[in-house]
Amino acid sequence: MKMKWAKTFWVYLLVTAMIGVLSACGQPENTDTASSNAGNTEQKQVVLSFMTTWSESDPFTGVYYKNAMAFEKANPDIKLDIETIPYNDYGVKLNTTAAAGNLTDLILMIGGGSMFEQIARSGALMPIDDMMGHWKEDFLPSSKIKEFNVDGKQYGIPGEVSYATVIYYNKKILKDAGYSEFPKTYDAFKAMVKDLKAKNITPIAYGNKTGSVLLASLLSPLNERISGSSLYAQIKSGEQKFTGPEFMTALKDIKELSDMGAFNVDLNSIDNVQATNLFLSGNSAMYIDGSWGAKQISKDKAADLEVGFAIFPQIEGGKGSMSTMPGGTNQGVVLNAKLDDAKKAAAEKFLQFMYSEESYQNIIRDGNMVPANVEAPADIDPLFKEMTGVFADVKEVTPVYDIVMPATVVTATKNGLQGLTTPGGSTPEAVAEELQKELGQ
């Protein structure tokens, strides 16, 4: 009996000792790092955590990453702790961290629109109105940065302007088919599509696997040409409906194009990159995507491939015109509302640097259009120069549907458009009803 008690006692002692040793192991290490941190603060380095899609090797955002690195180099007292998230996952990540209240110090907003506005209205972001003195109106017109303004408060500054729809076409294929000029009206465009199809050429390559391309680059311009730029606002306010004649016309047009074989058969199973390659390898006469698509085309195209650019054609009897294009302003960095004074000062320096004349010139040189009035550098890509020439006539940028619609409706629209363009899929009526139902919820 006594023996057993003694044994038990020793076991307790052993366990207690082990816990003691384990916690002791943890303790001194903590105090160590604390003291070394205290040593570092003498240099007063401010660390800004930054959630973004920018990465050095990405053709779309590499220039921003390089600008950010140049900022770090010029400001050794500020360090960026960059967390890079792939573009396709960024919305989800942004959403969840914002909902959980875990936003980083600096946050990239890929575009303006409903998600950004929702986060801004929740109070999670810091308005930068007191910093706006760094940017003069004649350098950065307020009309061009309004997408980053919510309820009269400015939260960020966009790095670039992009158009949602550019028709890239293979000059040689169109010429061989008898079209030396790109059609200016939608009817002529459809006739050309039919003609190409009859010649056994895939007219248009689309990479709509994620659903976003048809929404931004086909539904948006169709609606714009048919009903002008205010249709969604009218639908939202209840004046119009998704099931109304104007929106239905756009859906029916998409269905018509799909039925006449205007798209590559696998448009809903491949992504943008694969669709671009289809176009670049001469397997389709056209490729439709946003103006951002120009970069991959310019980078990957064979030297002898002649690419033309066209603006989405006019629809006769429609309310829109070819001088307006759906588009957006992108790549604005916004600030977490919880920043302390030191971090805020550092963030101000960062914004000043990232949206300076020099940075904008780098952005242009990389093949983007910018919201600021900056002289284009002489050494820009000729292909990109040609595209900006074609778009010089566009005077007004109108909102893209996937930016202004609430997330539930965006998801439903993406699925609806996939259904419309799938053989045996949905009818325009069913899609419109589904959207109206989603909007009502």
Partner: protein, 292 residues
């Protein structure tokens, strides 16, 4: 050791860290998900009490039922594809013919260790309409009209994905069965042989009953694995085109994180838990009846 057994609370104390972690990261999220399912919530604005409305919407939601049906296809293909195939391969490899061929074991097991992302990308290339291996092969032998947009055809896409799942996981069950087969006492087999039980007869009446418990465990693994399917579909088709390859997990994901309906997404996950639990219980019941 004996002392530990007598003082059960010492064992309990040892378990506490695991229980705490499990509760924090598994039980608590499940319960909070059930709680959220009674609200209308977009993740930002204040939650609105929604009662059972999310569940009523769920029952009326055709896409949800389609995703559950797709899940059931996955379960069927997994149980009726992976298990028999795995067993067949295991018996082959355990036979005299391949006894020394360790390379086959490695080859068949390989897909299990490859990351699902890589598997998805490889199979995406196989199924590509223009340049894919499958269509190229069909065109090469003159079956042009059989060439398909495999992943874009709503009637086919889910089955095309099922094939990938079977390809990926058959190796796992093969290894499990192989281990079980190697534990079958050789005396039993020799005795059976003396009694004239050879080939399929021996396999069906002697070997299968001996490793029955392993097979049952594999079936449960298989069902739960098929119900959890997410990554493969998310990468290969993203649930599309137009929901045709949606499964419960992908639908929950898009509703919650793309449409930002946190309440509705939680209702979907709660429903998935209930359905999965039901299926496991059902399968156990069937297997137990079979065993008797």
């Amino acid at each position: 050791m004996q002392m530990f057994l007598r003082h059960k609370w010492i064992i309990a104390a040892g378990l506490i860290p695991a229980v705490v972690i499990y509760t924090m990261f598994s039980i608590y999220p499940i319960l909070s998900s059930v709680y959220y399912s009674f609200f209308k919530w977009d993740g930002f604005s204040p939650k609105q009490w929604h009662g059972l409305q999310n569940y009523i919407n769920l029952i009326e939601d055709g896409v949800f039922w389609q995703s559950i049906r797709n899940n059931l296809y996955f379960v069927l293909f997994s149980v009726l594809g992976e298990i028999p195939l795995g067993l067949y391969l295991a018996i082959m490899l355990n036979g005299k013919l391949f006894r020394k061929g360790g390379i086959f074991r490695t080859v068949f097991f390989m897909p299990v260790v490859i990351s699902t992302i890589v598997v998805s990308l490889i199979w995406n290339m196989f199924y590509n309409y223009q340049f894919g291996l499958v269509n190229t092969a069909l065109r090469a032998v003159g079956l042009d009209h059989w060439a398909q947009n495999w992943l874009g055809n709503p009637a086919l896409a889910i089955f095309v994905l099922c094939i990938v799942v079977v390809w990926q996981y058959t190796g796992l069950y093969m290894v499990i069965f192989l281990a079980a087969l190697q534990n079958v006492p050789s005396e039993v087999l020799e005795a059976a042989e003396l009694d004239g039980a050879v080939g399929i007869k021996r396999t069906w009446h002697i070997v299968v009953p001996i490793i029955a418990d392993t097979i049952f465990a594999a079936v449960v693994l298989c069902i739960s694995g098929a119900l959890r399917a997410f990554d493969l579909i998310y990468i290969m088709t993203n649930g599309g085109p137009s929901h045709s390859t949606e499964v419960g997990a992908t639908y929950m994901f898009t509703q919650t994180f793309s449409s930002m309906k946190y309440g509705y997404g939680s209702a979907i996950s709660t429903a998935i838990i209930i359905i999965s639990f039901g299926l496991i219980v059902l399968s156990q019941f069937i297997l137990r009846t079979l065993k008797r």
